[in-house]
């Protein structure tokens, strides 16, 4: 446990206190108590910059489950530090913004607890060296994202969006776990650094393509790449601070992080390189094209985010191509630098844009472009910020988006000129796709500015529009100032954070000494690319009425969303049908299934394996044991014969108590004690539930029913006995009890082996058993208390 581990876990620890605090103290907005957490973390991370920018890495280990190689090993290089600073920095701004955005009446406790859990999860993803821990935190981001999208859980769209995002990202995450496991099968380690040392072994292994595909599934679903992007627009049902934070600045970039992190490892594979490059470009164009037709402001931004993620993904693809071809040429370095730079820029301008849209929504009550307009004079500060950030997004000088967009175009142009035998035919497409995507970006940027702030004032907004309070404006202002500062002085970033991050992606230790400049000369193709984008984009905006009808040609049936909806519906219906087929609601049917299954499996096993029976090693049977067995038999017969339930219950407990006596004779005192206690509780439970039991049904008297039950019970009993004897006769392994006898004092300093096994040697089992026990209790509570009322709605009955 070091300071870094503590910094990662700090939000979760804080979440516990925040949750408790919220119950008892509601006078001050909860956000003020949350705010110090990300601020402290970002301050701490800034102190690490000098170390990292002097090309050192930080590695701190903490043992978690060393036996299976799952350790909480923190590894910080430029790449992880960049992400961590983005997470905590944007996090601080978002928390500040949310104080103004969310009113006192919302469930603030839930909101901030989820947000803090997310912060830890995200920091854990980017700062971990161990892939198992990475996966753990990865899924935690999906869960917290789910909870945050469903924050307004009484809205149907929120639930739909939350479920969609969770299903898609968890589907990918689970596949990614498969990728990690196949990687560890190849390299015999779960550490990313350990894997890096064994690249030749991975290269030769036949499992590698599988690992690549599975890991890419994880990255593409999380980063909302084509065709998995469908969850992101629906995730916009979340409160706007969440959209700004999770669904634009941080969580969706986790996929980019994984791609960047594994690029040195997989760059040898053409599959990896082309998948990233092509999917990235397709996503860029398709999402930008779709963003133009949206009416909801947040939907525009959602598609815009998807397209920008595609842009960064394709840049990483070019970087991977560089590592792949072995040529450490200028082009590839530029691409990686552009990727890192655009990552930062996107976080600044898109974060600010989301916050401004949130302000517009908050102050006017609508996010529909049709109902907004002419707010320039009413909301001058928001208007100024929108102009700056939108133009930065569209790649207009002198803002930071321009610089990274130009690097992007430059990389795309140079790759079309470079000579690669594989892609000679299609290489012309890359710059064209890049420019087409950028043109649409410009168009929707203009639509954003014009649709909200210019034109005629719309009188029919649900609320009287006014400028937002200062509290909500601070965060977007900070980000907008960063947009301008990074645009004018990009080189304050290049040495400190971009270079180390790019070196992390390229896996080199040579300093890059990047210089980002505004002017590349008249002969730079990127310059003419930008000019073309601006001219064509402006023309397309002016004549939008002539080509916009193109969107009407889309077929509503052949969409990915429809595929998702139908797939979900049919899988649910199918599952329902299958389940209804055998779930009769009677415990007796389930017992029949279970025991028949057991008997059938046992008989099959008996036929297929040759068993021997040895009676020599068995211990002698004593008289008390025989006596107890006779008592049990008598009780059993009584249960079978009697017609009274009360008698059966009492006889049943007679069997239980006799069994515990039997344990005493076998010197299993712990078991006997437990059995006694269980039996006492069970009998009282039975008596309590007595009158809830239904009356004896007529079919219980039927011969066929009884015959069936008899066959099954005799089969189960006979096979159990045979298996017991056979298992005792043929020992496949040595007994492990000797290990416990030897180590019970040395390793666990205890005397009672049974209990030491329970709490120490196999403590994990006990932990989860306890969990099951507690959950079962809560399940009973819900079953008994949750009634469906006449309207078919669920409600809890409260009574003393």
């Amino acid at each position: 446990m070091t300071l870094i581990h503590f910094a990662i876990l700090l939000p979760v620890i804080a979440a516990v206190f925040i949750g408790v605090l919220y119950r008892y103290y509601k006078d001050v907005h909860l956000g003020w108590f949350v705010l110090p957490v990300p601020v402290l973390i970002v301050a701490y991370l800034f102190t690490l910059i000098p170390t990292v920018s002097s090309n050192q890495v930080i590695f701190e280990s903490m043992q978690f489950m060393p036996r299976i190689g799952m350790n909480f090993d923190v590894y910080i290089d430029g790449l992880s530090l960049l992400f961590a600073i983005l997470i905590s920095g944007i996090g601080a701004l978002v928390v500040l913004y949310s104080i103004g955005y969310l009113s006192h009446y919302e469930k603030l406790g839930n909101f901030y607890v989820y947000l803090l859990i997310f912060m830890t999860a995200m920091l854990g993803v980017v700062l971990n060296d161990n892939v198992l821990m990475l996966y753990l935190f990865w899924e935690l981001t999906s869960i917290s994202s789910f909870l945050l999208i469903a924050f307004w859980f009484n809205r149907e769209r929120s639930i739909y969006g939350a479920q969609k995002s969770m299903l898609i990202t968890m589907f990918g995450g689970f596949l990614m776990l498969g990728g990690f496991i196949s990687l560890s099968l190849i390299t015999d380690t779960f550490s990313i650094r350990g894997m890096m040392e064994q690249i030749p072994a991975i290269q030769e292994n036949a499992l590698a393509p599988l690992a690549i595909i599975l890991i890419l599934f994880g990255a593409f679903t999380k980063s909302a790449q084509f065709p998995f992007y469908v969850w992101l627009p629906d995730a916009m049902e979340a409160p706007t601070p969440v959209s700004a934070y999770l669904h634009s600045a941080t969580m969706v970039k986790a996929g980019l992080y994984v791609v960047a992190r594994f690029t040195p490892l997989f760059a040898f594979s053409e599959l990896w390189v082309w998948a990233i490059l092509l999917i990235g470009l397709v996503t860029l164009v398709w999402a930008a094209f779709n963003a133009v037709k949206q009416d909801d402001l947040k939907a525009v931004l959602a598609f815009s985010t998807v397209s920008q993620l595609g842009l960064i993904m394709s840049l990483l693809g070019i970087g991977a191509l560089g590592v792949h071809s072995g040529a450490s040429e200028q082009v590839f370095t530029i691409a990686v630098v552009a990727a890192v730079f655009h990552l930062i820029n996107h976080a600044t301008f898109k974060g600010a844009l989301f916050m401004i849209i949130g302000i517009v929504d908050h102050e006017t009550g609508t996010r529909s472009l049709k109902r907004l307009g002419g707010l320039m004079t009413i909301m001058p500060i928001s208007f100024t910020m929108t102009v700056i950030t939108s133009l930065s997004m569209a790649g207009i000088p002198p803002f930071n988006g321009f610089l990274s967009k130009e690097l992007f175009l430059e990389a795309m142009f140079s790759i079309s000129e470079a000579d690669f035998s594989v892609l000679a035919d299609v290489s012309v497409l890359f710059p064209i796709l890049a420019i087409v995507g950028s043109i649409f970006t410009l168009v929707y940027s203009i639509i954003l500015i014009r649709g909200i702030f210019l034109g005629k004032t719309q009188p029919e907004t649900p609320k009287e529009p006014k400028e937002a309070p200062m509290l909500m404006l601070i965060s977007p202002i900070v980000l907008t100032v960063l947009v301008i500062v990074f645009g004018l002085f990009p080189n304050i970033l290049s040495g400190t954070i971009i270079d180390p991050a790019a070196m992390g992606i390229l896996n080199t230790s040579e300093p890059l000494n990047t210089e980002i400049s505004h002017w590349h000369g008249w002969d730079s193709p990127a310059l003419w690319g930008t000019v073309a984008i601006v001219v064509i984009g402006a023309l397309m905006y002016l004549f939008r009425n002539t080509w916009m009808p193109v969107y009407r040609f889309g077929n509503k049936i052949f969409t990915i969303n429809n595929l998702y909806d139908q797939g979900l519906m049919y899988s649910r219906l199918g599952a329902e049908k299958i389940t209804d087929g055998y779930m009769s609601g009677y415990i007796r049917s389930y017992l029949v299934y279970i025991f028949t299954g057991f008997a059938v499996l046992a008989v099959i096993t008996m036929i297929n394996t040759d068993m021997t029976f040895e009676w020599d090693t068995a211990s002698a049977i004593t008289i008390p044991e025989v006596a107890i067995m006779l008592i049990i038999l008598a009780a059993l017969i009584a249960i079978l014969v009697t017609a009274s339930r009360m008698v059966s219950i009492i006889m049943f407990s007679v069997i239980g108590f006799s069994l515990s006596l039997l344990f005493v004779f076998f010197r299993a005192v712990d078991l006997a004690l437990t059995q006694l206690a269980v039996e006492a509780i069970l009998t009282s439970l039975f008596l309590l539930a007595f009158f809830h039991l239904p009356k004896r049904a007529r079919h219980e008297e039927r011969k066929r029913f009884r015959l069936n039950n008899m066959i099954i019970s005799v089969a189960v009993g006979a096979t159990s006995i045979i298996f017991g004897i056979a298992a005792y006769s043929n020992r496949l392994f040595d007994s492990i009890s000797q290990f416990y006898i030897d180590n019970v004092y040395d390793l666990a300093s205890g005397g009672n082996m049974v209990n030491v096994i329970l709490v120490d040697f196999r403590g994990m089992d006990t932990l989860f058993e306890t969990l099951v026990f507690g959950l079962a209790g809560l399940g009973v509570f819900i079953l008994l208390r949750l009634r469906v009322n006449r309207k078919g709605e669920n409600e809890f009955e409260e009574h003393a």
Partner: protein, 167 residues
């Protein structure tokens, strides 16, 4: 309460006398103390001699069930004014936190530590982190058992009163 209704359905008309049984109530109190003491004894001795969190928790629940038989649910709720659901949460939290706290001290997850300290009267007393884990098990087991039993008892009381309303 539940015993009363059970007897009622079995045909005993004058069950009220039965319920106010002073002997039962008084014995229950005494036996309750004995069982609880035994349960705590079992719990603490678990690491060296038979016993442990699970048995201890079950016995504690059994002791309270005995009180439930002698008194009614309202009295029991007054005697033990904790919400069982909260106790379950508390127990589970404790059992998860102990292995996690161990990690702070540089140990792998679930590697228990033992410490021997000298106390004035008791002499040398071992302190295991496993005990704190077991406390969680104890609380969860006792609370869950009680939750289920009291729930069933409430259900029964309710269905009794509903039946009375109908007739």
């Amino acid at each position: 309460m539940n015993l009363k209704s059970t007897l009622k359905k079995l045909g005993y008309a004058k069950v009220h006398k039965q319920m106010n049984d002073v002997f039962l109530k008084y014995t229950a109190k005494v036996v309750f103390l004995i069982i609880i003491t035994f349960s705590i004894n079992l719990f603490f001795s678990g690491h060296y001699t038979p016993g442990g969190g699970f048995v201890g928790g079950l016995l504690a629940a059994a002791a309270i069930v005995l009180l439930l038989l002698a008194y009614d649910l309202k009295t029991i709720n007054k005697m033990i004014p904790f919400d069982h659901k909260w106790l379950i949460a508390l127990g589970l939290t404790l059992s998860v936190f102990v292995p996690l706290v161990l990690m702070i001290f540089g140990q792998p997850f679930f590697t228990h530590q033992a410490l021997y300290i000298e106390l004035p009267i008791f002499g040398e007393v071992p302190i295991h982190t496993a005990v704190f884990f077991d406390v969680g098990v104890y609380i969860t087991v006792a609370a869950t058992t009680l939750l289920i039993i009291t729930l069933l008892a409430t259900e029964q009381a309710m269905s009794d009163s509903e039946g009375a309303d109908r007739s």
